[in-house]
Symmetry: C2
Subunit: 153 residues, 2 copies
């Protein structure tokens, strides 16, 4: 395991937004949001958080790693399912407080519910007369694998 990663302190807005030094901003909880997209299709596969250690791991190993807030530990994507994500490109947004990974998905899907993408449901287009209390979703994807087989324990 890498030693705790030390990213540089943030400097000026101009340097952060238009410079060429990685100066990621971690929130008060030590985390930075990360969007993961499929290299081939640009489809958003998942969204998770990284701490400095998982960002460092991802950069060093070119394999997506996050911070699991529910398990409170480093989460190397695919460690249980085998559905690892090979990182081909790592991007930052303008103010360097969001990471974007372009990945090759080594498994059939990135979602623990068996879908390629976690974003498998879409709001039904027709406005609901009952308002926000009863907005309906529809499934916009079919399952790519059976989670009961992949996540056994």
């Amino acid at each position: 395991m890498a030693t705790p990663a030390s990213f540089p302190p943030r400097t000026t807005t101009a340097e952060v937004e238009l410079g060429t030094l990685l100066q990621p901003k971690f929130g008060p909880d030590g985390l930075i949001p990360c969007i993961t997209v499929d290299l081939a299709t640009n489809e958003v596969l998942m969204f998770a958080y990284m701490n400095a250690e998982s960002l460092d791991y991802t950069i060093r190993n070119r394999r997506a790693a996050f911070w699991s807030r529910s398990r409170n530990r480093l989460w190397i994507k695919g460690e249980q399912s085998g559905h690892a994500l090979n990182v081909v490109g790592l991007y930052v947004d303008c103010d360097q407080d969001v990471i974007l990974l372009k990945v090759e998905n080594l498994g059939p899907g990135a979602c623990h519910n068996g879908y390629r993408s976690c974003f498998y449901r879409k709001l039904v287009a027709e406005a609901d007369p009952e308002g926000p209390k009863a907005l309906k979703l529809e499934f916009a994807a079919t399952r790519a694998f059976d989670p009961a087989t992949v996540y056994k324990k």
Copy 2:
């Protein structure tokens, strides 16, 4: 302006993850992360946060609205630049704590720095021997508009 939006309370994990009722999870700060992608190319354009009011506004008006954390107010994208985002599809992730918008970008770019996407910089592929303290970015896009002209004030 709409009255404060009231989304339904969250129920069981099964209902949240595999059901068909929109039950968004707002964090302790009242916000939910939102990824915005271009309808035509799937390119991630930007990332911002919504509160219940901005999510409700977005759904009702099919126009992207967020919560500006810096200005502490509703932020209708394009209100100053004219670069509004027409929402064609709204998706949620598996545990309904992230929103994804598919949009038509009515302007040349979504980023206040003049780029189509906020993710205009990419980590240089070669690992830096100095480690995380000195990781270099390179520009992966060219400017789509001049921010000095668009943001005049």
